[in-house]
């Protein structure tokens, strides 16, 4: 079975073509600057052929049309005919309470997805555009939506409710939803596999540390808590997002700086986080370089960043009544041995004996970074959200055929 996985952002489309018999990625790439000037597609094939093709991409439909054209082309293609594409999997950011898992896309499902737009006005509309475009371009090919929020739908009310008037939850669905669901799900399952243990027997804390960052408490394979909330602003300190913040601080800033909710939104999403604190960058490597050169704010930023993660690990261990495995993933989690060390050191009280040697220099690889015999295992598991979506798509399409 061949499956295309699409991740449509506001002005970009990431795509991967999977051969599910081997789970090999036959081709992948990204269309950038959709609807803007200077748009292009970067395409890469399994055999290493890489190409960047420029041209005008007016909208998502045009972008997907070009992507399909490239995938079928003689020069860069991986398929001869569109009949070879058996299904399409879409990443969808917000599924609210309507979606507890990935779903076969029907008109009714699309309607429910449209109702979720209110909660993710920036992310869900482009996701939907990708679905509309595929319905148009590959009519009859099954499509599946995989939701960033779905994995966390197993949280109990005491974990997901905010202490605001209950009527607001009823009225707007204001609660914690959490994101990066496919990633937390993938790395937790993969870690259990690596350890040769049953997911059901494990208490895990998964740290997805990228430009956006979230952490999840996973007990018996189910998400019981996660740091992102209604929106991705809550929780860990991120590249440009505040993470946890006293609501009073935001109100105070809005009043004193005389700004409206739009600018306040930009303030907490784009001006804050590591960039806001350090004034250096939102990029961890640049901040670490600045810290090595004794930049005080870079040092402070890193201390805050690590401290926040440690605080969450402690609280999630308490929430689950212990922890067996701590997993690092995402750009920083996979490629930042320094970050992992700062987070994991001096955690013996929790049963974690960190192994600096095993951690040192390890980037983008599956590796255990705690000492043999450590009660808590710390490990790095590179994430693969696309594969999760492809697998879900395959499973759901096969189920629908066998129904």
């Amino acid at each position: 079975m061949k499956i295309i996985v699409l991740n449509c952002g506001s002005s970009s489309i990431k795509y991967q073509l999977f051969d599910m018999t081997t789970t090999e990625v036959l081709a992948k790439g990204v269309a950038e600057k959709i609807g803007l000037h200077g748009s292009f597609i970067k395409h890469e094939r399994l055999d290493g052929t890489k190409v960047k093709i420029e041209g005008e991409i007016l909208d998502h439909q045009a972008g997907i049309e070009y992507i399909l054209g490239i995938l079928k082309s003689e020069k860069y293609g991986s398929i001869k005919n569109f009949n070879e594409i058996d299904a399409v999997g879409h990443r969808v950011v917000h599924g609210a309470e309507a979606f507890k898992g990935s779903e076969y896309i029907t008109d009714e499902v699309v309607k429910k997805m449209e109702e979720c737009i209110d909660l993710a006005p920036l992310h869900n509309p482009p996701n939907l555009k990708g679905i509309y475009a595929m319905q148009h371009l590959l009519p009859g090919v099954p499509q599946v939506g995989a939701f960033d929020t779905a994995f966390h739908q197993t949280m109990e009310p005491h974990a997901y409710m905010y202490a605001i008037p209950y009527s607001l939850y009823r009225k707007y669905g204001l609660r914690r939803y959490g994101f990066h669901g496919s990633s937390h799900r993938y790395v937790s399952a993969r870690a259990a596999e690596m350890l040769g243990k049953d997911l059901k027997d494990l208490k895990m804390i998964t740290c997805h540390l990228g430009n956006g960052a979230s952490i999840a408490a996973i007990k018996g394979g189910k998400s019981v808590d996660t740091s992102m909330g209604l929106t991705p602003v809550e929780g860990l300190i991120m590249g440009t997002r505040t993470g946890d913040l006293d609501a009073g601080v935001l109100l105070y800033i809005m009043q004193k700086e005389n700004i409206d909710h739009l600018n306040a939104n930009i303030l907490v999403n784009k001006h804050s986080g590591m960039l806001g604190i350090t004034g250096v960058s939102s990029d961890m490597r640049e901040i670490e370089t600045a810290a090595e050169a004794n930049n005080e704010r870079a040092i402070l930023g890193l201390e805050m960043y690590h401290y926040r993660i440690r605080k969450y690990i402690g609280s999630y261990a308490a929430a689950m009544g212990g922890v067996d495995v701590i997993i690092f993933t995402g750009g920083v989690g996979e490629n930042g041995p320094e970050t992992r060390e700062e987070v994991c050191k001096d955690m013996e009280f929790l049963g974690l004996e960190f192994d600096p040697e095993a951690n040192k220099g390890k980037r983008g690889k599956e590796v255990i970074i705690s000492k043999p015999g450590s009660r808590v295992t710390a490990m790095v598991v590179p994430t693969n959200e696309e594969l999760v979506i492809a697998r879900d798509t395959e499973r759901i399409v096969l189920e629908s055929v066998n129904k």
Binding site: S11, I53, G55, L58, T240, I266
Partner: protein
Amino acid sequence: MPETLDDFALSKRIQKKGSIQKVAVIGCGSMGQEITRTVAQHGMDVVFIEVSEAKIKEVFQQIDAHLDEVINQWGLTVGEKRVILSHIKGSVDFNDIRDADLVIESINSQKPGTNINMRKEVFRKVEEIVAEDVVITSNNSTLMISEIASELKHPERTAGLHFISPSASIKIVEVIRGIETNDATFDFVLKFAKMIEKQAIVINESPGHVSSRLIVTLINEACETLMEGVASVQCIDTTMKMGYGLLFGPFEMADRIGLDNLLKWMDNLYAEYGLQKFKASPIIKRLVRAGYHGLKTGKGFYKYENGKIISQAITATEFK
């Protein structure tokens, strides 16, 4: 020939026509700059036409300063500012608008009286240069688009497109259908409005549209109230702001519009309708003659420093 995405198109359905990649703004005074920034912020290229290289330089300085102010207000990141500026070009040469998909005339004359003839001339000049189907619009407040376009070969491709300042935060534009405006043109302008995230208010051509016609009468009545000594400038503004939730009181609004502009609107509307309610208040005439043009000159109904009100410039007693 390097390959382009067109080589991989599945069909010819991907039409380039109808896309808006480049917008020309003719005249880059304060409103022209607001339009320029808004368009560039939405990822389209803008070329603005000004009268001299010195003026172009000044425009860029003002746009730069404004964007810095937005950054200070947390509304933009430094990276986003760079992107916006990369979309903007200034020119003194009308030939540089040749490949524009949409033209917005936004000229501003310091001379008193109506500038209909200047606008007509701009429209004629534009028509000579751009392709036959390029939509040409005017951002004027009180003149008729049908009249401005009356000497064109293809007046059906014209429409009114009226922005209200500060256009970054005002979520509407007035889209005006002239006598000759055809559906394709009108739909194109509506699409543009959507692209810059504005709600289009559909207007059947009428002097002053909705916005200018109503604000002019409010400001005139505020002047009457002031002249009668009923309350001070500040008290009248505060009453309307706090009492009715307006963003600005009538006098502060007048200063922001520019009293010279306002006077033109009033003169035009009075000429069109012949109604007393549109006749410019003597206070406005007097202030304009004295060079009190409002915010942009640092004094109008209020005195300003760095764009902020520092005191009331005139009192009711002066007009008793």
